[in-house]
């Protein structure tokens, strides 16, 4: 009979393997520098998991996830920047006590909307709330008017462009193209030391697992099945009595919240936030992380983010002039040959063989190959 358990045995094993990788294997084999790098990659995994829900399950492709990642990251960065801009640290400025880039832009007092970011709880709330509010406004406007598919993708991409131009243009308030840099401490705790980075890596990993568990819950709930139903037969869902727009708005907001958390963790681990993470290119790259991992699989999304970024770093170290070719080729290969990404390769190619290897019994591969006869 139907099982609606939170996780199947296979999924428990999958989660356990990923947990072992993130919490045991990587910290054991990587030096501090590399571990921090993987911590950075894992922040993209937050976005990729959100995309696996929005796009993989719900069929909503957003090319503007960088906006939410950036908003979360900027909220965190604003808090850290205020903490770093004590009057003592900024004594050489014409207005001490405000962030340095404001001083360069002749601002003489902190803009009112920066004030809440003196408070850590408010800043942490904003990390999630600001991207969600943004996603909510976009979602309500677009989904209630049934904008979907390609149009949604292009309009969200336009948002990424608008956001970048705005952040760069309003540099007195946002730090402009440089971003918000030189972040030092979190409540007095120096985030730049090796120990801090290691701790942040584990915090990041724990948060990622929290997000993964939420995603798993959503996937396994009736809402998760509804998303798949909507992707395939939107009208049928509507005429089964569901307000389809609400579900899309919810999942889009959830994806935005995940991205915001990822952005905040990025700021903490990398030490700054800049508009280059908001624009069109990073937003599309985030989609690729998800596609490489397998757009249907939330665990796959994490592996996708790790793998692509690791490939990017090592390719650009060894063949700096060729990595774009590799990345471009990867995009095409995934779409053309592995539409279900790593997760698909695993479940279609590797897993059956492993099973065959471990159980002496011949694997039962006879999937139903057509509609049953009358």
């Amino acid at each position: 009979m139907q099982s609606s358990a939170f996780m199947s045995r296979k999924e428990i094993i999958g989660f356990a393997i990923l947990a072992a990788l993130i919490f045991l294997v990587l910290p054991a084999v990587l030096d501090n520098f590399r571990l921090n790098l993987f911590g950075k990659y894992l922040t993209y995994a937050f976005v990729a998991v959100g995309l696996a829900l929005c796009w993989g399950a719900g069929g909503i492709l957003s090319l503007g996830q960088g906006v939410f990642f950036g908003l979360g990251g900027y909220c965190m960065a604003m808090f850290l920047k205020l903490e770093a801009s004590t009057p003592e640290n900024t004594a050489i400025q014409s207005t001490p006590g405000i962030p340095d880039f404001m001083d360069w832009n002749q601002l003489t007092e902190l803009p009112w909307w920066w004030e809440p970011f003196y408070s850590l709880p408010l800043a942490l709330l904003a990390v999630v709330a600001v991207p969600v509010m943004f996603a909510f406004v976009i979602g309500v406007a677009m989904f209630t008017r049934r904008v979907g598919g390609v149009y949604f993708a292009i309009i969200t991409q336009a948002f990424a462009a608008i956001m970048t131009i705005l952040i760069i243009g309003q540099q007195g308030y946002t730090g402009g193209v440089n971003g918000i840099t030189d972040l030092r401490t979190l409540m007095g705790w120096d985030i730049r030391t090796d120990e801090a980075k290691t701790i942040l890596y584990f915090v990041n990993g724990a948060l990622l697992f929290a997000v993964l568990l939420i995603a798993q819950y959503v996937r396994k709930s009736k809402l998760g099945r509804l998303l798949i139903a909507m992707r395939d037969q939107e009208d049928r869902v509507r005429f089964s009595g569901y307000n389809v727009a609400n579900f899309k708005i919810f999942i889009f907001c959830l994806g935005a919240a995940f991205a915001g958390i990822g952005g905040a963790m990025f700021t903490l681990q990398v030490g700054f936030m800049s508009p280059t993470l908001v624009g069109i290119v990073p937003s599309i790259e985030m989609v690729i992380f998800c596609a490489v991992g397998g757009r249907l699989s939330i665990l796959g999304a994490v592996y996708g983010a790790l793998l692509v970024n690791w490939a990017k770093t090592s390719l650009s170290e060894s063949f700096p002039e060729l990595w774009l070719l590799g990345l471009g080729g990867l995009f095409i290969a995934v779409v053309m040959f592995f539409p279900n990404g790593l997760a698909g390769v695993w479940s279609e190619k590797i897993e059956p063989r492993l099973l065959a290897l471990f159980s002496k019994k011949k694997p039962d591969t006879s999937a139903p190959d057509g509609a049953p006869a009358e």
């Binding site: 990587l30 030096d31 501090n32 520098f33 590399r34 921090n36 790098l37 950075k40 050489i92 014409s94 340095d100 880039f101 001083d103 360069w104 832009n105 002749q106 131009i165 760069i168 243009g169 540099q171 402009g176 193209v177 440089n178 971003g179 840099t181 030189d182 972040l183 030092r184 730049r192 990025f266 990398v270 030490g271 700054f272 800049s274 280059t276 993470l277 770093t313 090592s314 650009s316 170290e317 060894s318 700096p320 002039e321 990595w323 774009l324």
Partner: protein
């Protein structure tokens, strides 16, 4: 995991080119007496665990080879490699050959930070030649300060910064702006200025300084317009019409990148031809490098304010241009930043030799006061504030893509990254 980089410690440059450059320079170089490696025990000159062996020292090169900034940063990489080859041909530093690890910042600021950390933490490089945009420098700055690295930064920039871990071999904004404005006012009688720029911090800060100077320090002069366009903008007809409306004596343009090409082509097509009567076009953002993309015929007659032009006629520069072309090809051009990047390894060499050590703290201590008599731009000197004393020059663009130098300051201009009265 950390040692896959041996591949890019390249030495694939023709020996002839290096030797030619090397000998040409020796003639004019103030050479310290020949230093041999065995005179300096590695343990003495490297007490902090940098990548120094008995016969090599490793430094980092960190620029964008890919992405939008690759256009600009290529020249810097070439210049730095040339300087390294020449130093090695002369016997290296403290008897040690310089090897380099090149990393790609990929026009992406987090990548710059990541690579900077890798160079400092994993590769323990003794110094880094790198960065181009302010954003990339701001991104790596905390990394350099945290891990006590030493960066030579080649680009003219907006100032407002002075890090103990950076030597700024390009001009800060006042060095590039003030003398040029005074010159155009005094020799051309210009009174009204239209400020224009790409929308980011360098053009905005530079225009701010320009505006303060025009309004506070130049008699009867005024700014009649100030305007910014997004990076990558390619349609300038509207602003050209606005310029027509305001009839400024000078169009002060700080447009960068691809926008530059569009701006000058459209300016010319709109009938504002700097070779003829009409507004003077003065820029601080177009070097010979950029002219290649714009096309000499499209910018001919405009003035640029820099510290270096390829056409400078002094012995140092003639030798430098010759060596550069032999190494990188006859049709290459050399811009202001490329020259500044070339100074980096030489300044570092001088500081290390003065300190008698590769230790960053000692090199930093030795740096102020370092002089180069061999710089292609002429004589330069490191200021207490880690910027260079250098001359400001005005050049007029020619159809062949070169600048004709029409003015240079009599004295070296003092760097002033936090200018009083300009903030």
């Amino acid at each position: 995991m950390s040692n896959e980089n041996s591949d890019n410690k390249v030495n694939g440059v023709s020996r002839r080119a290096v030797l030619a450059g090397g000998t040409a320079l020796t003639a004019s170089l103030f050479m310290p007496k020949n230093l041999r490696a065995q005179d300096f025990a590695t343990a003495d000159i490297n007490t902090t665990g940098l990548a120094v062996t008995d016969d090599t020292v490793t430094i980092g090169i960190l620029h964008s080879v890919t992405g939008t900034m690759a256009i600009s940063e290529t020249g810097s990489v070439q210049a730095e490699k040339l300087a390294i080859e020449q130093i090695n041909a002369q016997g290296g530093i403290l008897g040690r050959k310089i090897e380099y690890i090149q990393e790609d910042g990929a026009s992406d600021w987090p990548t710059f930070a990541e690579k900077a950390r890798k160079l400092l933490v994993n590769d323990k490089v003794a110094s880094v030649m790198g960065c181009w945009t302010s954003a990339s420098r701001k991104a790596v700055l905390p990394v350099f300060e945290q891990h006590n690295g030493f960066l030579y930064y080649p680009t003219f920039y907006e100032g407002l910064e002075q890090s103990p871990n950076v030597i700024y071999t390009g001009q800060e904004a006042t060095q590039q702006i003030i003398a040029g404005l005074d010159w155009v006012n005094q020799t051309k009688g210009a009174k009204s200025f239209y400020l224009l720029g790409s929308d980011y911090i360098w053009p905005r800060t530079s225009n701010k300084i320009a505006r303060k100077h025009i309004e506070n320090f130049m008699e009867d002069c005024k700014v009649v317009g100030e305007e910014y366009y997004p990076l990558g903008h390619t349609q300038f007809n509207s602003v050209i019409n606005k310029i027509r409306l305001r009839k400024p004596d000078v169009i002060y343009a700080i447009v960068v990148g691809g926008s530059n090409v569009a701006f000058y082509k459209q300016l010319k097509a709109a009938g504002i031809d700097p070779t003829e009567e009409g507004p003077i076009v003065l820029t601080i953002s177009v070097t010979e490098d950029e002219i290649r993309g714009i096309g000499g015929e499209n910018i001919e007659g405009s003035y640029a304010c820099m510290k270096y032009f390829q056409s400078l006629e002094n012995e140092n520069n003639i030798a430098f241009v010759k060596a550069f072309k032999e190494m990188w090809g006859e049709d290459i051009v050399i811009g202001d930043v490329t020259q500044a990047a070339y100074l980096g390894p030489w300044l570092w060499k001088a500081a290390v030799e003065k300190a008698g050590s590769f230790d960053v703290d000692k090199v930093r201590e030795a740096s102020p006061g370092i002089e180069l008599t061999t710089a292609p731009e002429g004589y330069v000197k490191v200021h207490e504030n880690h910027h260079l004393w250098s001359k400001t020059r005005v050049g007029r663009a020619q159809a062949d893509g070169q600048y004709e130098v029409v003015f240079e300051t009599a004295e070296l201009v003092e760097p002033d990254p936090f200018p009083e009265g300009y903030q």
